[in-house]
Point group: D2
Chain length 324, copies 4
């Protein structure tokens, strides 16, 4: 079959052609209306889809209604109205529970896109459970924050059945800037962990660089401005560098306590695939220390506070100086 | 004095105004005509400067002549013709030797910009030696490769006497895309080491990410394409990722053996400033191993070959797969 | 209550006084007759105990019979004959299964000592399950190898109910050289993980030291002999150093593949307690690489083979030399 | 020649036979009368040697006199009276200066044992300088602290000319417990760096283990007592563990600031020999942090204070507990 490798090696992300829809209700479902789920729902409404959403939290359902969607009392109501359903869930347990409800609701023929960062094993288990009941699950993690979700600035790492991804493409294009078909089911979460390994490292490398600069007598704000523009630059340096200089990690875009779950998934993937990753390993103690120092609810930029504390901070003793 | 802090905190890099020239010959000197020195010379000629260059290697002088510059038999001849002189030297020993020749040539009043990545102590020593003979040395490392030097795509981290930097600004603008005045003498090399700490880490994080992806069953080329576009992206990932996938580290843009000198300077700066840098520390063994495995003349992208060897490479056993 | 702190802070390990036995059959049970369980059983027989043992593997039961013990067809038969029962099990699943059988067998009043290295959560779950059925579980990991078990050269890290430990003391003394009462239930496995964190590090530090020595021109055997006697010495250096020099890691005393389970437990404990452990973290990639290089069934001394491979081994290029 | 390999592979350290003395004055010289030099001198006097010592510090010379030795005004006086001279010097610069004085004093035929931890290159330079003037230098670092020097509990790693080592053997036996002939000149300092790499790691692994234990609810003193006796034990754990528990790092046996010099020598040896040492690398940031936190004059056991600070110390929040 020519399509699969073509998709895998396509040089440019594609925008979907108007793919022929499989049989099933026209509505698009959203199970889980948290920060990500509600942002995606709102954008799908704007894109012209009829969105049916469910969340156990009443306030989340109300928010959906205000955004123009249709709140549903339960999973069964979503299934009844939607051929394509997005899952945006907080935990492995939530995924297990939703799968049981989907099976009970008799969703035969539905295509579902699981967009959370959850263990590969949990995703595989969900796929098998749903497949036995005639449903097709796709593994489609998102790259981007809640803020990016609001502005439709997400990337989708779609993986699983080729035809089902094609069928789902217009929905992805309704809430994401770009989508990649990364191949077999599970490749989505695998790609996400690869990206997050880099995020874990680059967040900390940003802190190390600023600390070395400051202790060498440089101005922190200047470091961030000058270095971002060169060979040492990274997306994390651009985003988290200013947060470290401003000490604004109390405004979390990714909380340390939640990030520790991602760290665990990466560490498990490394051990399972027998992969040596010396930098990622070296980053773990600093994130553990961030937790110990009470930064669990702070942004991961708080790794800078850990390093600073190792040198007697909050304020390093030596300050920027200028020779006369 | 208001000027100094203003320069240090200026939000945007400035292009020089036509600064009043100090007394001294109008020519611009270039001592050291290697890859960087010859590229800068050629761009200075194009920018309208009369360039006088010296290098002990005859072929380098011939190349300068072809580019429109004036080759000089020695340092004294450069001094005689030039008020502003750029130094582009391979080692601390070369800097010491050139300083002795400058003093012997009686270069009183000259302003010199030292652009190499050399120990802070060597630069300070050179500054003092030249100051005693009435010359002003600036510490002005460059960010960018030889290829970038050819296309005038360099950044200058200028540091030292404010007025002298102003006087030298048109010369910088003749061979660089942007220049930053980073403050007191020595801040230039300090900023360069901060940037290089990031380069050392991000080069290796790129290798770790690709390796984890490959061993998880992903396609290496796809990883580079997909991840570069997201939160895990970095300048090094963009530049070195493709080299790792193509195994093209034999085409060196930065040789491991030369990079080890930079690793040493960073390590010394960390110890001298009592700065903990766990990621940089974790990168050192891999660069040492790259040397041991015979990659001294290869590009630093060869750290990928080290990781690969740790898992039984050159070819990892598990390959990308797609479920039927 | 004075007893508990006294036990916890006692400077010297105690040998049990003849503690008053609680009611219950006089026999001592052994559930799990693998390498450790069979060695402990044999020593308990020699110490004068009547030993009733069960293992699903028939050969293991036969071996017990030859050693003078009484093989039992199931857990129920052990329960019927024994007031004190030792558990020596390979996995969390085995512990869960045995607990279910113990409850079914109605073992009210029995005291059980769980001696395996298993997750704290699994041990706590087992304790609660058994407590609900009137049994008292102790958490009592062992320090020592199968070879040490044969010669009664084990240490017991006993934790849990003080009186129950006292009751079990004569049994511990029947198969161990020394026992420590380390306090509350779970402290045993916690202490074991602390010890294993050191083992993981010292095994690798031994490899690093020998490699540096060899590459500096020293004789490997001489390094092991000279360094063991000084400030750099460790138990692992003494035990694993000669294995690395002789390249005899194919004779496993602790297999890499099994050790990875312990690495995981330590890593989880570090993350759960928010503890930074930079050296342990730095060791993980090397153990992962040992797996990738096919050393899963070799002794953990094979980390030396990983480092050697990073420098182009099996044989490092530079050899010991003596100036004329 | 059979002697050299025999010495290198001898299984047991030897005590010297009464080796035939080369021509030269009978006295034994000691240049440098600091903590180590004065302790060695006192033991040599007790062993029956006539000791001639020099140190620029007058108090050190007075101390030698009280111990029964003969203080000398300068190096020349030592040379005049001694055929065998021990060097115990604080720095590379001191070694260079003493060599110049030895040459000026005309010490032809003398044998000298350099016992300090100094760069290999400095030792080689000294050897060549002295050889040109007819003197034989041996490289003979010591393993052991000042306290051990007082009780003659030192180990000598002697390297260099075989016959000269034989001649010096009775002197070594006068101040050391054991001596090893480790081969060619320079092997002494190489072996010392191998041992110190282990010391750097095991000092920190001790801190990590105690911290994990404490944060798991264990009693720190108990950890030290229980773990020292098992597979996780090390010489450093025995020596530094109690210092960490007692927080007595203000009583320095090895100061962090001085240890940083050794860290640098090890790091240079690793880079020079292209050797990957991930654990040693991971230890460097913690020693840098110890300096930054003001522990320069404290014992290296203060790495525990660094880890503790990373978790919010001095007192970790969670304390040892015992379930009711």
């Amino acid at each position: 079959m020519a399509a699969a490798p073509a998709r895998k090696t396509s040089r440019t992300p594609s925008r979907a052609k108007a793919a022929p829809r499989a049989a099933g209700p026209e509505g698009v479902g959203m199970i889980g209306l948290g920060i990500m789920g509600s942002a995606m729902s709102a954008n799908l409404v704007k894109a012209g889809f009829q969105v049916f959403g469910h969340d156990p939290v009443a306030a989340a359902r109300t928010r959906l209604k205000r955004a123009g969607g249709t709140p549903c009392a339960g999973v069964a109501e979503v299934v009844k109205n939607c051929g394509r359903i997005v899952l945006s869930l907080p935990s492995e347990a939530a995924l297990d529970a939703v799968c049981a409800e989907l099976v009970a609701a008799g969703g035969r023929g539905r295509v579902l896109a699981e967009t959370s960062t959850l263990p590969e094993t949990a995703k595989l288990r969900a796929r098998d459970t749903l497949a036995a009941a005639g449903m097709t699950l796709l593994d489609c993690p998102l790259s981007g924050t809640g803020a990016q979700a609001l502005t439709r600035d997400l990337a989708v790492y779609a993986s699983g059945d080729t035809a089902a991804i094609g069928e789902f493409a217009p929905v992805f294009d309704g809430f994401a800037r770009v989508r990649y078909d990364v191949g077999a089911f599970g490749n989505g979460i695998r790609m996400k962990l690869v990206a997050n390994l880099l995020v874990a490292i680059h967040n900390l490398s940003t802190a190390e660089a600023i600390l070395l600069g400051e202790r060498s007598g440089l101005d922190a704000a200047q470091i961030v401005r000058v270095v971002a523009d060169g060979a040492g630059g990274s997306r994390m340096f651009q985003v988290r560098g200013p947060m470290m200089v401003d000490r604004s990690w109390d405004q979390a875009t990714m909380k340390v306590a939640i990030w520790q779950k991602d760290m665990r998934l990466i560490q498990e993937a490394l051990q399972r695939t027998d992969t040596p990753a010396p930098l990622f390993a070296a980053s773990m103690p600093i994130y553990n220390a961030a937790m110990a120092l009470g930064h669990g609810e702070d942004d991961t930029a708080a790794v800078y506070a850990v390093l600073e504390r190792m040198v007697g901070g909050p304020k390093p003793a030596r300050k920027a100086r200028r020779a006369s």
